[in-house]
């Protein structure tokens, strides 16, 4: 208590206060010094670092994806278009709570578990601050609902993107093909240059021309420096380098001819290829059944995909370039020409056909398809017209297989045709060397008999048969088959791969024989020329179906149907000035002349009944020296519809 009652000493108190305050002033000065030092450290010493940081904050380099090149048919009809589609995207770096955001989005738009799953996978391999797609193809309603709630959804954006659209749907599924989202496998195969080129681009060509012309269709990526605020909203564009749109492709294909060929094939499985004899341009490219390429563009649903994959009719299988079939008797005209050129047969050669054939020193009997034979005096023309097997066996027995192989190669068999489409199969035309290498056994004379009839080891794609036919029609000039007629309006010249040298009268003989197939009394392909006011030359064929393909399910009805022979027909028209060559395959169609020939007829009828200016496209390349090419009075009636335009269309 005594302390409490102590007299207050005014001066001591003041001294104490002064003392403590001086210490406090010292503290204040030191701490203010710390603040000044801090400002100095931030604003002077580390100025450059923070300046960069702040610029990185606000300035983003955004890739501007190029517009994918459009694809037209020869008449300027759009086959592959770009249409805007709205994509819901999320910038992970701008979202504080991702789960909550996705939960909220799930209430605003339709989100499936699969979408979220895919999104999470995409998140793993995104670049920083890159918008990651969560849902494609938003509806108008969904876009509205998101924009209303935009305030609660930082980092979420709806982006308009141009996606591929194929207006003709199924018609060009196998030829034009489709694009799809770049998948992990493709991404991991990207070079650094590819990574740069595909910045901002979500799609890549997967199948068909979309794949083989990917480099040209893609275009060159542009970029822009944009200023954004903290929520990632773009405020202004500081600098922009425009992208270069992809090249425009004009195809040889003709939409109407494609339709006609497709309809003529009806419900059958099979293939139709029509080739412009003068250029090798592919006018029709049908593989039935087909599929809607639009399904694949933004990711096919599992249900749709398994339906396509598991169908017994294998709609995803490109029969034109991947289907390898025994070509059967369709090889006979080519073999006949080879035999003539090699001197194995001549115009006078006649064979008696008792209905069977025997090789010397071989007990085996080879039976003609016609049990009682074709008669006693079968020459080349009748041999072709009636498809007499014995005539060609007789020739093959006297001919060297390696020479036969050589002829077939010049007509395009046994190797890839070199068409501008991906994943083409080479087919097979045997030789001694091949058999020794592949089978380890020597060549037997009986093998030649099978080979000359397009059976045994021989396999060919419908495209190869069409090229072979076009080469015959061209009297030996073998063009590389081409899908693309012009790139950005620049015509692509045809390319001659081989020339088969033979005297003109040999060609005349083969022409005559093929014409007889269609027009003679015993001809096997009379339906190919029915009611046409121009002459057609053709050859039927039948390919035996050897076994059941692996993996096919057993179904007795379907199996019976699928054990039937394949029907084949190759033809060209008109005989006096060939324009178009066609090969037709009808799987399990049995009779080439009965089932396949009418399909060829429809194609010829449509193509030849058009006014000339329609069939001869504005862009068609004409060999300057050719006399046989029809000279069109108005080679360029209209300017090319979209040669060099760029930008968005549709």
């Amino acid at each position: 208590m005594s302390e409490n009652l102590r007299f207050k000493d005014h001066h001591t108190e003041q001294r104490l206060f002064r003392n403590r305050m001086l210490v406090a002033i010292f503290g204040v000065v030191v701490l203010l010094g710390v603040l000044v030092a801090r400002f100095y450290n931030l604003q002077v010493v580390n100025y450059e670092d923070y300046r960069t940081q702040s610029d990185q904050n606000r300035i983003q380099v955004r890739p501007v994806p190029p517009t994918r090149g459009l694809i037209y048919d020869r008449n300027g009809e759009m086959l592959a278009d770009n249409r805007p589609s709205y994509t819901l995207s999320v910038v992970r770096e701008r979202v504080r709570d991702l789960d909550a955001t996705i939960e909220l989005l799930g209430r605003l738009v339709h989100l499936e578990d699969r979408d979220v799953e895919k999104f999470n996978r995409r998140l793993q391999r995104r670049r920083p601050f890159e918008p990651v797609p969560l849902r494609y193809r938003l509806s108008e309603d969904e876009i509205a609902r998101i924009s209303v709630n935009e305030f609660h959804l930082p980092g979420v954006s709806v982006e308009a993107e141009l996606v591929r659209y194929y207006p003709e749907s199924k018609l060009f599924g196998h030829s034009v093909g489709y694009v799809g989202r770049i998948n992990e496998r493709e991404l991991s195969g990207f070079s650094e240059e590819d990574v740069r080129r595909y910045r901002g681009t979500q799609s890549i060509g997967k199948v068909g021309l979309e794949r083989s012309y990917e480099d040209l269709l893609l275009g060159e990526v542009g970029y822009e420096n944009v200023e954004t605020n903290a929520r990632g909203r773009v405020l202004r564009v500081l600098e922009r380098h425009d992208p270069k749109p992809g090249a425009e492709l004009t195809l040889h294909l003709d939409t109407r001819l494609q339709q006609v060929a497709t309809e003529a094939l009806g419900d059958n499985r099979g293939a139709v290829v029509a080739i412009d004899v003068k250029t090798g341009g592919v006018l029709a490219f049908v593989s039935q059944p087909s599929f809607d390429p639009n399904l694949f563009v933004t990711g096919i649903s599992y249900k749709d995909y398994s339906a396509l994959r598991d169908s017994l009719d294998v709609p995803l299988f490109n029969r034109v370039i991947q289907g390898q079939y025994p070509p059967g008797s369709t090889l006979k005209p080519m073999m006949g020409l080879g035999g003539l050129a090699a001197g194995v047969i001549s115009a006078e050669t006649e064979v008696a056909d008792p209905g069977y054939f025997k090789l010397p020193n071989d007990p085996r009997i080879y039976r003609d398809w016609k049990r009682w034979g074709h008669g006693k005096h079968i020459d080349l023309i009748q041999g072709l017209a009636q498809s007499c097997d014995v005539y060609f066996w007789d020739m093959a027995a006297r001919w060297n297989i390696d020479d036969m192989h050589d002829v077939a190669t010049r007509f395009g068999l046994g190797e890839k045709t070199g068409i501008d489409l991906p994943r083409e199969y080479p087919g097979l035309f045997p030789s001694r060397a091949w058999k020794r290498g592949a089978r380890g056994v020597p060549w037997f004379p009986g093998d030649s008999l099978n080979t000359v009839l397009g059976q045994g080891f021989v396999l060919a794609t419908p495209l190869q048969l069409a090229v072979m036919t076009a080469t015959i029609a061209n009297r030996g000039t073998h063009y590389r088959p081409q899908m693309v007629m012009a790139i950005d309006g620049v015509e692509q010249p045809p390319e001659v791969l081989h020339h088969v040298d033979a005297r003109p009268e040999y060609w005349d003989l083969v022409f005559e024989g093929m014409e007889a197939v269609v027009y003679s009394a015993h001809g096997t392909g009379k339906k190919a020329g029915a009611g046409l006011d121009f002459k057609v030359a053709g050859k039927s064929g039948t390919a035996q179906v050897v076994g059941i393909a692996q993996g096919e399910k057993y179904d007795s009805e379907a199996l019976k149907e699928r054990h039937r022979d394949h029907a084949l027909f190759v033809a060209f028209a008109p005989v006096d000035d060939p324009q178009i060559a066609v090969s037709v395959l009808v799987e399990n169609g049995e009779g080439g002349g009965r089932v396949a020939a009418p399909v060829a007829r429809e194609v010829f009828f449509d193509w030849m009944s058009r006014p000339l200016e329609n069939t001869a496209s504005r862009l068609v390349w004409r060999p300057p020296m050719s006399i046989s090419a029809p000279v069109h009075p108005h080679p360029h009636p209209h300017p090319h519809p979209h040669p060099q335009e760029d930008g968005i269309r549709g």
């Binding site: 302390e3 409490n4 102590r6 007299f7 207050k8 000493d9 005014h10 001591t12 108190e13 003041q14 104490l16 206060f17 002064r18 003392n19 403590r20 305050m21 406090a24 002033i25 204040v28 701490l31 203010l32 710390v34 603040l35 000044v36 801090r38 400002f39 100095y40 931030l42 604003q43 002077v44 580390n46 100025y47 670092d49 923070y50 300046r51 940081q53 702040s54 610029d55 904050n57 606000r58 770096e93 701008r94 504080r96 200023e227 954004t228 605020n229 903290a230 929520r231 405020l235």
Partner: protein, 381 residues
């Protein structure tokens, strides 16, 4: 108790040396302090205009608050110090009652109850305690012999501790610490012995670990951790500091120009018009601007310290000293936080940050400072 009042009689009381009173003296206005505060408030409004994204609305609102605050300051300056001293227990008790009421009836947001709502009017009782606590401590010590005895120190700590604990419960750790600080400054200035100060520091260090383990909430720990490693979570807790440092640093010496700060104008800087407003100033006006602001604060503090030195009695001296040093702590904590030296606590930059209540409390404090300054010649009984 009243019997001891004669002790405070000034030796020259009733001196006949009185000069004619100047206008400012008659209105109890300290002119240098008033001028400095007006310059600071003006600078604050200019920076706020840019920081709010050129929203006149904010600036107008803030200007109205500033006007009210200046009026409040003048009123506070008119009240004799003796009144503050006599009524201090009642201010203090009323404040504590309001704090208890906040715990039961308070409203608020983000998990904290800090406000009382009466009709359409809302206020934050903790603001009133910012003044009530130093006044109560100064008044308490005024009547004790100094340097304070151990018991007096304990008594003071109780006076400080009760409201501080109530405010921590809201929870509002930042305000609680600042209020405690203002009381402790008064205690310190009264001549607390260095032994006790040393002992307190040692105890504080020893208490740090249990405090960390059990005393702090997760978000509070997070803020402290962020301080040491702001780059660890740039988009989470470290975002604010990362962005404010980028704003300040990118301002450089010259600054990006008024309303040209990309960090603040493009919304990268969070809370740019409230707690983080110094970053806007530093970004747009550069280090020059930051130094000018610091000099302004330094001058105000210097004037406050001068007033406390000139005070003629313990109550005025302790109160003026405490108010001035607490003001400095506001400035230091805010700038330290924005520049990444201190953890993020919600302390506004005095007179510059947007926000009405804090301005009014601050200016009332300066009013009391002026009351101290102009009462020098008055006899206190």
């Amino acid at each position: 108790m009243a019997s001891r009042d004669y002790m405070h009689r000034l030796p020259d009381a009733g001196s006949s040396l009185r000069r004619p009173e100047s206008l400012s003296r008659r209105w109890h206005i300290d002119l240098p302090l008033l001028l400095l505060l007006m310059v600071l408030a003006g600078v604050g409004l200019v920076v706020l205009y840019s920081a709010s994204g050129e929203e006149v609305h904010y600036v107008k609102r803030q200007a109205v608050f500033m006007g009210l605050a200046f009026v409040g300051m003048v009123i506070a300056a008119q009240i004799p110090l003796e009144f503050y001293r006599r009524w201090s227990p009642w201010f203090y008790l009323a404040g504590c009652c309001l704090l208890v009421a906040v715990l039961f009836f308070g409203v608020g947001a983000k998990g904290a109850q800090r406000w009382l709502q009466i009709g359409g009017f809302r206020f934050q009782p903790s603001e009133a305690l910012k003044l009530a606590v130093p006044i109560a401590v100064a008044a308490y010590l005024h009547k004790r012999s100094l340097p304070p005895s151990f018991l007096t120190v304990i008594g003071t700590l109780v006076i400080i501790g009760v409201p501080a604990a109530l405010i921590v419960r809201q929870p509002d750790l930042g305000t609680s610490i600042l209020i405690a600080t203002s009381g402790i400054f008064a205690l310190y200035l009264s001549g607390l012995s260095w032994k006790m100060i040393g002992g307190a520091v040692v105890m504080a260090l020893m208490a740090a670990w249990p405090m960390w383990m059990w005393g702090l909430r997760d978000y509070q720990k997070q803020r402290i951790l962020t301080l040491f490693n702001p780059d660890a979570d740039r988009l989470g807790a470290g975002w604010n500091i990362f962005q404010s440092k980028a704003a300040i640093g990118s301002g450089g010496w010259d600054g990006k120009g008024y309303m040209q700060g990309t960090q603040s104008q493009l919304d990268f800087l969070p809370e740019s018009h409230t707690d983080f407003i110094i970053a806007v100033l530093a970004e747009e006006w550069g280090m020059r601007g930051a130094l000018i602001l610091l000099v302004l604060y330094l001058l105000i503090i210097a004037r406050g310290i001068y007033i406390s030195f000139m005070a003629q009695h313990v109550f005025g001296r302790l109160l003026a000293g405490s108010i001035t040093l607490t003001f400095f702590v506001y400035v230091f904590v805010n700038i330290g936080m924005v520049t990444g030296l201190l953890p993020v606590v919600g302390v506004p930059l005095p007179l510059v940050s947007h926000g009405g209540t804090s301005v009014i409390t601050l200016m009332a404090g300066f009013g009391i400072l002026m009351a101290v300054s102009t009462e020098r010649r008055r006899v206190l009984f």
